[in-house]
Symmetry: C2
Subunit: 363 residues, 2 copies
């Protein structure tokens, strides 16, 4: 059961919730923009469906609605930002702006972030660089859900990495991926619809493959990309470790099993070694390597050649990274954003608490 | 059947071959060092076993033994290097030195490379940065062997990416991985030993899973990390695409199916859009983000915590990325490097051609 909303309705509603939390007008607009971008791009797990989660963390005083976000360490092209426990939705764009400014001056800019919270979709931040004809990088660590190869313990988040490249006549190429075999959002969909998941996504409390999507609630864990050692799960683990080290260890944020949980009902770990969760973002000017026009001409050619790959089935073409999200964005910008009823109810419960006008389907 | 050699015997032999090709003393020493590092670290597929392959490419005039390697474009922290068709084994260290010098001055340095050849193991280059208390990055595109998700055509190399981090009391954390489900070297071992490979490594000419390790010779392809769409092969494809774009499209090298083959009996593609193969390397100063001591203390703690993960079987601990290679290096430095007889014969055939003293097992 879905209700459908225009982008502008969901956007004002979301802004109002953030303002009710005490966010500045500027931060409310930005945070809503990050969430809406996710819904528009079809990544329902990271959009307004998470809004009530942010509110609950704010209620527990784990999110600071009026953070003093600042650079605490820097060189010409590197910096560490302290997010002051603010919304990752505003902290990460701050960090990306710093990276872009450094890249404008020196060719590249790299910012590690500590003391932040969940930053929405990585693609939002990486795309900020693409708009300036730069290559964008964004990653974040996250609450531990994933067991390393051979482990029977949740040690890592689904730790996404994103790389975004500006093309010429085509939309940007955007690789934006969890480093686990399946994103947690896919598991949640299976839980909601009562379907089993494929072998290779999760293990149960004994460390065995299971198809039960609820196994995470009884001591199970998500598996790294590659699923098992034979198929390269040590590589998924290595990628996730890379995200964790660049985001957490490099910034002074938490890492590994100490990354604070997104859900407010779970308390952060005692004796945590760092501050909040960590991100890592970067930007490199394309014209730091070759003329933008030459790069874009070749990337357009790359896209055309890959789209024209010989296929196994005539009906299924090769998909350029970022293409499905772009198609969803075009479709939902026109036709509105569908939300499952449970999400709408959840959002309206928040609205009621804050005394804000409720959502009414209008698309 | 193995013969075992001391490191110094294999090193002088390899230097002599490169000198016989016309390489300078300096280049011969460096190129041999890169190959030996691979053999020492247990990555047999990328060590001296490849030496005769480099010689054959040189005979075909596709490798230039006396390249004029130079920067052709740069900003304060970015550069593009033209390898002048030299050995990747010397071109990539040149590029890494440029990246490190830029990082020393400005915090980070990033170098895209065109007109190069196979660069050995990515870890060698990334470790150059680690020695300077920097984080090292190295990747390269390679001859097309891998089919993107849904494709029945080899469009990408096994395109490795490497991230290397300096620790304190522990050895560096080194994530060095092919972005395919299995590296080509593993397939070659199965071919040699007549064993089947697991489902999920390769597809046959019809695009179906096969366990026949010879399927690549009859129109098959390696699969991206993730193996199939359900298990995230689009992510492995996305990572491989990232390596291809950073190494090939950004530098002006070839990319995708146009990357020239390593084997001399296959001709490079006609109408290739770029020059040679491409690499991408980078270095970031740890103290560009926080004091080196703090980072290393936390990374040591990270390593300890991950090594202490609860495990599924008592007998199999979690492996820190880079650990198996470091253990191999310690063992082989002491006990020598084993080479299969076929490789020794192949090397001695090259020695005979050049009139150089042959290899004799001495460890």
């Amino acid at each position: 059961m879905y209700l459908t909303f225009t982008q502008s309705t969901l956007r004002s509603f979301t802004q109002n919730i953030f303002k009710a939390m005490g966010c500045s007008q500027e931060h409310a607009i930005l945070a809503a923009d990050v969430l809406l971008k996710s819904d528009l791009r079809g990544i329902d797990s990271h959009g307004v469906a998470r809004l009530s989660g942010y509110v609950r963390l704010w209620e527990k005083q784990r999110i600071n609605a009026t953070p003093n976000i600042k650079i605490v360490h820097e060189t010409a092209t590197t910096a560490t930002v302290d997010g002051d426990a603010g919304l990752g939705l505003v902290v990460a764009p701050f960090a990306m702006k710093v990276a872009i400014e450094k890249a404008e001056k020196y060719g590249s800019g790299w910012v590690s972030v500590k003391n932040s919270n969940h930053f929405g979709i990585a693609g939002y931040h990486a795309l900020m660089a693409v708009e300036k004809d730069m290559i964008g990088f964004a990653m974040t660590n996250a609450s531990p859900l994933v067991a390393p190869t051979f482990a029977n313990e949740r040690m890592l988040g689904t730790n996404p990495m994103c790389y975004a490249f500006p093309a010429g006549k085509y939309p940007p190429v955007i690789v934006d991926m969890a480093t686990s075999a399946a994103a947690n959002g896919k598991l949640e969909i299976a839980q909601r619809t009562g379907k089993n998941v494929p072998e290779g996504w999760i293990q149960n409390a004994d460390g065995e493959y299971t198809t039960d999507p609820h196994a995470l609630k009884t001591g199970g864990a998500l598996l790294p990309l590659g699923s098992d050692r034979e198929h390269g799960s040590h590589k998924g683990f290595g990628l996730s470790a890379t995200v964790d080290i660049l985001s957490g260890v490099l910034s002074g944020a938490n890492y590994g099993p100490w990354v604070p949980p997104f859900v407010a009902f779970m308390e952060p770990a005692a004796n945590a070694p760092g501050e909040g969760i960590g991100h890592f973002v970067g930007a490199m000017r394309v014209d730091g390597f070759r003329p933008v026009k030459d790069f874009k001409t070749n990337l357009d050619n790359w896209i055309e050649r890959f789209k024209a790959s010989e296929t196994i089935n005539d009906s299924q073409k090769v998909i350029i990274p970022g293409e499905p999200e772009r198609e969803a964005e075009a479709e939902r910008t026109t036709n509105g954003i569908p939300l499952v009823l449970a999400v709408v109810d959840d959002l309206n419960a928040v609205a009621e608490k804050f005394g804000i006008e409720k959502l009414v389907a209008d698309a």
